[in-house]
Amino acid sequence: MTIKMTGVWKTFGEGHTAVHALQNIDLANPQGEFTTILGPSGSGKTTLLNLVGAIDDATEGHIEVAGVDLAGLSVDELVKYRRENVGFVFQFFNLIPTLTALENVELVADLTASNGAERAAEVLDRVGLGDRMTHFPAQLSGGEQQRVAIARALVKEPPILLCDEPTGELDFETGRMVLDLLQRVSRELSQTVLLVTHNAAIGDMADRVLKLRSGEIVEDVHNDTPIDATELTW
């Protein structure tokens, strides 16, 4: 699924307190492209992700996904868009503490499939948590929790995967394992991935690296030879 942003601005506040989180962004991501977005805090990385995920709206400009302008969608259509097209992976996992790993994934699987539990179990198995399905988040390590979060994002098999600092809370080994998982699955499903990170080293595994500063794209580099995540070091 292609993503196209044209003249996108995102401004918070008004008048002299206005902050331009994104300024005149033009961007096109073809289907299946793995893009990492780098930049210091406050550069607009997460805002850009949120706009693509339709959990926030642009102040100006157009965001088209598969040729559909998100600004033209109603509230219900946006819900449907998120439900069918977007998978989110958050830095802080955001798992429901009262649900088991399986149930956390099933909760989302139920939105699009009638056999939610089966689908959830399959995906958890795929992310290596087949033996931890009945565990509650508090009984899982950080890496395991993030894998549950990835499984939750993948269970709908969304064409777009948005990952916001997915390794930010993880140690090196676990972080690399999570990135490997993301890379493998997204390749298998030909997903368009936008991955926000502070970590420049992660850019080596991506097809494309965007660098943002103060809401503007300051560097847009295509990487013709992305390495496997397992080869990453930082």
């Binding site: 997460t46 805002t47 949120n50 995920g53 959990i55 926030d56 219900d76 819900v79 449907k80 868009y81 998120r82 439900r83 069918e84 977007v86 998978g87 989110f88 958050f90 830095q91 802080f92 955001n94 429901i96 503490p97 009262t98 649900l99 088991t100 149930e103 956390n104 099933e106 909760l107 989302v108 139920d110 939105l111 939610g116 539990a117 509650f136 988040p137 508090a138 009984q139 939750r152 994002a153 709908k156 916001d164």
Partner: protein, 785 residues
């Protein structure tokens, strides 16, 4: 200059305005009810006391026996200040065409009596020589619209004697117009009091004074003096002795005021407990969400005491804002309530004082409740480990399957979203428990108030429909032959008539005495049913007397014991106790006519007839027909008495209405706070669900279901505890005059439960609206929700 920490406190409160307003309002209500009820109670007691002193209300009244000797004995006691000898007689009165069984009480001519003085409302106190001038008691004057110069008739012998109304008077003995302790409720068409000259009183009774009224030094009650004078009175043949506390009107008023005292404790306690719970729930959440800030404070050199004091501030602020105006409003309201109350009851003296202790106590109660609520969260805040707190989110705790899923395994198959709902109930057990307690408290408030109505209605139905079966009572001017009673059925409209003989009686056993009325009924009476204390109905026994159940403890007697019963003339009979009956109103004695005649050895007359109507009869027409009969003194339609009581119920309805509104407000405050916290705590989860494409209305549905489940869990417990509380509250009103057995209608339980669920549903609206305002990008990025 406001310190930053104080500024934080103010801003935090402003940020959680609705929750703090809910807490403050609950404290306000609790404190205001306390101030209003307690000061009203204090004012009314003071008004009664002052009335008693100003009008020299008798501390002891001794009727019957050797009056002169009793008076002399009483007068010789140094503790006695005044003794008054007088004549009291129940006598037929006639005002225009209405006959009633009234009461004539003698007063000295020219001067007020030394005991039981009167307040002359209009007209003047009768002068010497005005033997045919009477004073009419205020209630009777109002009902018949009598004024000085009007006239009425008193039946003396067989002749109606015309007397002139000289004035209208209030008496401390008839502030509540009751014939006697056993008949606290009478219709104004059937009872009225006139104060007559001694000369006229002697004509009525045909003999001299028959009552001694004693007033102690400074009007203070003295049990020892009362006991000594009572013992001597009985020795000298007195048949009815009662203290000021036992006097019918005073007793009724005291019971009534007791309700205010109960209210001054029970209801404020509930409100303050509810406010405390609401504050606790909210502040616990606040402290939890501010752990990183607390950690920062401590890391930067704030002392734990400073943190403790800061978070106690969240209790002090609503405590002060709620309790200071609450106390002031309560105290001011008490003045209005007191004046309304004394105005309605025509209490001659109204004492409205300012009691600083009530004001201070009310403020302290409100403050203590909110401080106690803040203490636990504040202590938690002061004990935070800075490094741990600043690491961010605290461990989310282990999840587990809900009890529902464990008990009903099929529930494990329901969609994960609904499983989330079930587990949400047990997610924060402490908060769930406090929400349940809130529901329980609210139901207690509702059931105690509503239970009072249901019980009173049931009590009235039981007394006036199930037990007393007569349609009307016809009172005769004097003893009447039973054959004359039987002849009443010849009158059109009367289907049956039974003779009844009612007389005052003193029952004695085990050196204890109890004064009541003995009614001799037809052996196979169909006009009165007897409810055994075991719950069944029994026939009037052919051998022995039937006594009201209160005598069992008062006289320490049981079925089969022999008791002494002394009637007005001083004759004593000694029947056995055949049964104890459970009657809601009064503690009476009943005996079958054949057995009574066997005990006395003579045929007994009737003083009244219990009649039942033919179907469709016009009671007013029948009343006129019957009261035209010369020997008939009065006619009392049971329905009129029943309707009169129903009118009193309007006050109950008003009271319950107010309590329901307050209960609803309290439930709202508590549940609203719990729900708000519940929703606030899972903001990030909600945002995550929204981000993955769950509809907002679905999320609202899950959260609503979870909260309603918690509220529903509290309902059974609330109904049980509410019923127990209502029973306890009612039992405090129980006496020998009233037996309140809790009776709550099933529909009351149903409506109370539905009302609580409705409040729970409504109280979620603000929280659910907040879900609509959740900013997904902001929340999912935050480290802790």
């Amino acid at each position: 200059m406001v310190k930053p920490l104080h500024r934080k406190l103010i801003r935090d409160i402003a940020r959680h305005k609705p929750q703090f307003i809910a807490i403050t309002l609950t404290i306000f209500l609790g404190v205001a009810i306390f101030g209003a009820a307690f000061d009203s109670y204090t004012n009314l007691v003071a008004s009664y006391d002052q009335t008693a002193v100003n009008y020299r209300f008798a501390n002891l009244t001794i009727a019957g026996g050797d009056t002169e000797t009793i008076a002399a004995f009483a007068g010789s006691d140094p503790a006695v200040e005044s003794v008054e000898i007088r004549t009291t007689a129940d006598v037929p009165l006639r005002v225009d065409d209405t006959k009633l069984l009234g009461r004539a009480i003698s007063v000295p001519a020219g001067d007020q009596p030394m005991v039981n003085q009167l307040e002359i409302m209009t007209g003047s106190y009768p002068a010497n020589g005005d033997a045919n001038v009477v004073l009419v008691e205020d209630h009777m004057a109002s009902h018949f619209d009598l004024a000085p110069g009007d006239s009425l008739d008193i039946l003396i012998g067989d002749t109606w004697q015309h007397v002139t109304v000289g004035g209208v008077a209030l008496s401390p003995e008839y502030i509540w117009p009751a014939r006697n302790r056993q008949e606290l409720l009478t219709t104004p068409d059937n009872f009225g009091v006139v104060f007559v000259s001694e000369e006229l009183a002697e004509q009525i009774t045909g003999e001299g004074p028959n009552e001694v009224a004693v007033y102690y030094a400074a009007g203070e009650s003295d049990e020892e003096v009362s006991a000594a004078l009572s013992a001597e009175g009985r020795e000298l043949g007195a048949t009815n002795i009662y203290t000021r506390e036992e006097q019918a009107s005073n007793n009724a008023l005291t019971e009534d005021v007791k309700g205010l005292e109960e209210m001054a404790i029970f209801f404020p306690m509930m409100f303050l407990a509810a406010a405390g719970l609401a504050a606790y729930v909210m502040l616990s959440r606040l402290v939890h969400s501010q752990r990183p800030h607390i950690g920062t404070f401590l890391a930067n050199g704030f002392t734990r005491r400073q943190v403790l004091v800061h978070y106690l501030g969240y209790g002090i602020v609503p405590g002060l804002i709620g309790s200071i105006p609450g106390a002031i409003v309560g105290v001011l309201l008490a003045r209005t309530i007191t004046r309304l109350y004394t105005g309605i009851l025509s209490i001659p003296l109204t004492v409205v004082d300012f009691y600083p202790t009530t004001l201070i106590a009310a403020i302290v109660f409100g403050l203590v409740a909110s401080l106690l609520a803040a203490l636990a969260p504040a202590l938690v805040a002061s004990r935070v480990v800075p490094a741990e707190a600043m690491r961010g989110e605290t461990p989310s705790g282990g999840g587990r399957r809900s009890l529902l899923e464990r008990v009903f395994p099929p529930l494990r198959k329901v969609p994960a979203a609904w499983r989330m709902t079930f587990r949400g109930v047990g997610r924060n057990p402490r908060r769930t428990i406090y929400t349940i307690i809130g529901v329980v408290l609210s139901l207690m408030l509702v059931l105690v108030s509503w239970g009072l109505i249901d019980t009173t209605r049931h009590l009235m139905d039981r007394q006036f429909i199930e037990i007393q079966r007569e349609d009307a009572t016809v009172y005769f001017a004097g003893p009447t032959a039973t054959e004359d009673v039987a002849a009443l059925v010849d009158i059109d409209g009367i289907s049956s008539a039974e003779p009844a003989l009612t007389m005052p009686v003193a029952i004695s056993a085990n050196e204890a005495h109890y004064e009541t009325a003995l009614t001799v009924l037809q052996d196979d009476t169909e006009m009165h049913r007897f409810a055994n204390v075991d719950g069944g109905w029994i026939d009037l026994p052919s051998n022995g007397v039937v006594l009201g159940q209160a005598t069992r403890d008062l006289l320490d007697i049981k079925v089969g014991d022999t008791v002494a019963m002394t009637v007005a003339e001083g004759d004593t009979i000694r029947p056995i106790v055949a049964a104890f009956v459970d009657e809601p109103l009064g503690t009476m004695a009943y005996v079958g006519r054949a057995h009574a005649e066997a005990l006395t050895g003579s045929a007994l007359p009737a003083t009244s007839a219990l009649i039942s109507y033919d179907e469709g009869v016009d009671a007013k027409v029948l009343r006129n027909t019957i009261t035209d009969i010369p020997r008939v003194a009065a006619f009392e339609d049971a329905q009129v008495l029943f309707d009169l009581m129903q009118r009193f119920m309007v006050l109950f309805y008003a009271f319950v209405g107010v309590m329901l509104v307050f209960g609803g407000a309290m439930a709202f405050a508590l549940i609203f706070n719990a729900m708000s916290v519940n929703i606030a705590e899972r903001t990030r989860e909600v945002a995550t669900l929204l981000a993955v494409g769950t509809e907002r209305r679905s999320i609202s549905r899950y959260i609503t279901a979870e909260n309603m489940l918690v509220a529903a869990m509290g309902i059974p417990l609330g109904l049980i505890i509410g019923t127990l509380a209502a029973g306890a509250a009612l039992s405090s009103f129980n006496s020998d005059l009233f037996t309140f057995k809790l009776h709550i209608q099933p529909t009351t339980y149903l409506f109370a439960s539905l009302a609580i669920l409705a409040v729970a549903l409504i109280s979620q609206i603000p929280g659910l609206r907040a879900i609509r305002r959740i900013s997904i990008p902001q929340v999912v990025k935050e480290r802790s929700a």
